[in-house]
Amino acid sequence: MTSNFLKASVGLAAVLCLAACSDGGSASSGSGGTDTADDGEVVRINLDPYPSTYQPMSSGTTLIQNATIFDGLGGQVDDGDVLIEDGRIAAVGQDLDVPDGATVIDAAGRYVTPGVIDIHSHLGVYPSPGVGAHSDGNEATQPVTAEVWAEHSVWPQDPGFEAALAGGVTTLHVLPGSANLFGGRGVTLRNVSGRTVQEMKFPDAPYTLKMACGENPSRVYGNRGSSPATDMGNMAGYRAAWQRASDYRDDWQEYWDAAEAGEDASPPRRDLELDTMMGVLEGEVLVQMHCYRADQMAQIMDLAREFDYQVTTFHHAVEAYKIPDLLAENGACVAVWADWGGFKMEAYDSIRENLALSHANGACAMIHSDSSGGIQRLNQEIAKALADGRRAGIEISEAEAWTWVANNPATALGIADQTGSLQPGLRGDVVLWSGNPFSVYTRADQVWIDGAMAYNRAEENTQPVRDFMLGQPGEGDQ
């Protein structure tokens, strides 16, 4: 048994709320206030105007026994037990005592992992069926739209959510598309059914900003004869926008300094686009950036230094394997496919060893789907990446590879103190697999979200069916 989690099981409170958890006073540019104020009060920006109303489903105490456990941090427990109590991971170990009233599951021969996290999904914003009325993922009307928020486009009735659940996905990050230089805010969701997106929002997860490199923005706007039409136009577009955001932040800071000192001061005019970008400059909003080529990622890392912000994750990053050293120096993570590519020039140098090589050479790496199909089989995707890496001579254990769908995406989303591993105290997001999840034949038997059984392969009553599918030919089929 290797165990990261024993040493990591305490001190959770000290673990990251990476940046702005949007309540609790951790936001530096004025949290908890409103944008209107009586005379004499300092005007603040409400950072959480669309709050989560997520409530976990009811749960009991569950003890899963005799499983092979990947803890999500790289550790493995053989013949181990996982105790879920009050919606949280209560204990992981061998021969745990059976609490009174616990539901006990014998998982001999089966595997237990933390719930799968997909850091790059368009479920809800590009839902199934792919009809024009629901094509809500790209506000491709101008290249800088940092003011739009993916959550305002999410259709909670997308049947793709329940298909992902059957693949063990408990948390997903829904992003705007990549048509724009600044595509807008992403939203992190619990993979639960909700009447509203607010009922799915991951409480206190940091906001993110989707940005995009390369061919997509220059093609979309170049084809219209407007800027950006080239890579250099893309860079100019980012720089001009960051300069405005920087000025905006200075204006607010100047105002707050004066107002807090009791001086007569007027707040700057609110700009919703620059609010989001200011959040990035303050370290509260995490940048999730679509970028394929090594040279483009290097340009973006220079850009981030120029304007003093951090790129949290490069998404797609098919050439990450060429620059793991630069990525590590800059503390940028990469979220990649196992083996997709080829569909455009910037994806032409895709190799199957990208994930394993980037990981082995020091980059913070993870899998992502960007696909309503791929999200259902992220365990298979990391299995392919692991196998390809091993064939190239890179030794990585299965437990270590599981970090690619667990703690690594949780960290890149700023929620590693909440989910992504089986540390006691974290949310009870757990998957019981029918066998080794690195096999194509293995399926999720049961999925718990916050300790509640969200999916049970053996019971139709424990398989959600979205409104859209009622009365349709495929109702209830997986």
Partner: protein, 423 residues
């Protein structure tokens, strides 16, 4: 269809030494796709391009090049039944994409064989994952006919097209309806009219070039379909459209039909089985991508197999030129959702060969079959398995691709040799 025997004959003359080579693959778990089933500790002998012998007690001929499977799996090569390999290099770069011709004045007569490039870089990357044969499909252009498809090997050699004019492809789904003018009624009317043009060829065109639906050249190209000499592959998903297709086939004997897409084919499984119409489906397609495919389900493959429908698998949900190599994973998922291993493996090897009428040469390991043999380091449907050797037409192929070259160039990031000098 044209079997390209002349090309093979030329190869035989120019590459005699290679063809004369004898291989013996030993010590394998041999999947034969024949009545011999799976042979443990089996040997496969390949000589002059073809399989000579398969069995547990086969003697290795003197002078044979021995490939020790080391207990791994030995199988027929994968036959990908629905691809655009060698037609597309970079999908979004139209200069490298020869799959469709929206601005052409022709449709049925278009032949993918003229667009196929055996030097495309996705062919080696597909081959090293165990795919040895593929059917090539045109995309549709200005009307619902894409044109003529062909069959190729993944050897990358100049003679890798081994059959041209193998089938005609037509889109009668929602998208085909759009091409035809906006409704399914328009699509089926167009198809009926086109068949009328072909059935009335040449007389109808003696005075002018235009028929009811097709110009003379395209009408001529449709004649073998109307006569049942070439199958018509119809892309349809909705159960009602599949029933309409069955009715069309029944009203136009001796037309031969293949259904591609088939999201809701399981809802019409008994009728398809009774009609003897084979179906190409992607077994992992389970989301209602459109209102045509609301019945999509991971159970579709097993329901079709259970009903006795002839089923082959595709990578339709991914793509047909870069991801055709993932076909084994798609088949593995079919097994995870109720299909027997044997049926799933046949659906990517022997059954495609049957559907295209080449199953006496491809899709099985038996004496007289082409020497398309893959040696795997594990169960070929498992995501962590991979081929260690791929033989096509009895010749061992190299296991290198542009992707593996890129990998090798960047394996050691600390080496001081500039990257561009590493080859």
């Amino acid at each position: 269809m044209k079997r390209l025997l002349s090309a093979l004959a030329v190869t035989a003359l120019t590459a005699t030494s290679a063809l004369a080579q004898t291989y013996a693959v030993t010590n394998g778990r041999v999947v034969t796709n024949t009545d011999a089933g799976i042979i443990e500790g089996g040997t496969v002998v390949i000589r002059d391009g073809d399989i000579l012998a398969v069995g547990a007690n086969v003697t290795v001929p003197a002078g044979a090049t021995v490939i020790d499977a080391d207990g791994g799996w030995v199988t027929p090569g994968i036959f990908a039944p629905y691809t655009q390999l060698g037609l597309i290099e970079v999908a979004l770069e139209s200069s490298t994409n020869d799959a469709g011709a929206g601005d052409s004045e022709y449709s049925v007569a278009l032949d993918v064989a003229d667009s196929f490039n055996p030097a495309g870089t996705h062919i080696p990357s597909t081959r090293i994952e165990g795919v040895t044969r593929a059917a090539l499909y045109p995309s549709t252009g200005f009307n619902l006919f894409g044109g003529h498809g062909a069959l190729v090997s993944m050897s990358g050699a100049a003679d890798s097209l081994f059959e041209t004019g193998s089938f005609v492809y037509a889109d009668l789904s929602q998208s085909g309806a759009g091409t035809a003018g906006g409704s399914r009624s328009a699509a089926w009317t167009f198809l009926e009219a086109a068949f009328g043009d072909a059935a009335g060829f040449m007389g109808r065109f003696s005075a002018h070039h235009h028929g009811d639906a097709l110009d003379r050249y395209d009408a001529a190209a449709l004649v073998p379909v109307v006569r049942g000499q070439l199958p018509l592959v119809i892309n349809v998903d909705r159960a009602a459209d599949i029933r309409r297709a069955i009715r069309f086939r029944n009203e136009h004997p001796p037309v031969r039909m293949i259904i591609q897409g088939g999201a809701e084919a399981w809802m019409v499984a008994d009728e398809l089985a009774a009609a003897g119409i084979p179906v190409l489906i992607d077994p992992i397609r389970n989301l209602p991508g459109s209102f045509d495919s609301l019945g999509s389900t991971l159970a579709a493959a097993s329901r079709l197999h259970d009903a006795g429908v002839t089923v082959a698998y595709t990578t339709e949900t991914a793509d047909g030129y870069f991801n055709a190599r993932l076909l084994a994973q798609h088949a593995g998922n079919a097994v995870a959702h109720g299909v027997s291993w044997d049926d799933a493996f046949a659906a990517i090897t022997l059954v495609p060969a049957q559907i295209y009428g080449v199953d006496t040469r491809y899709g099985a390991l038996a004496s007289g079959y082409a020497g398309d043999v893959v040696v795997w380091d594990g169960d070929p449907l498992e995501v962590m398995s991979a081929p260690t050797h791929v033989l096509i037409d009895g010749q061992e192929t190299d296991m290198e691709s542009r992707q593996t070259m890129l990998r090798d160039r960047y394996m050691d990031i600390t080496d001081e040799t500039p990257f561009a000098y590493r080859r």
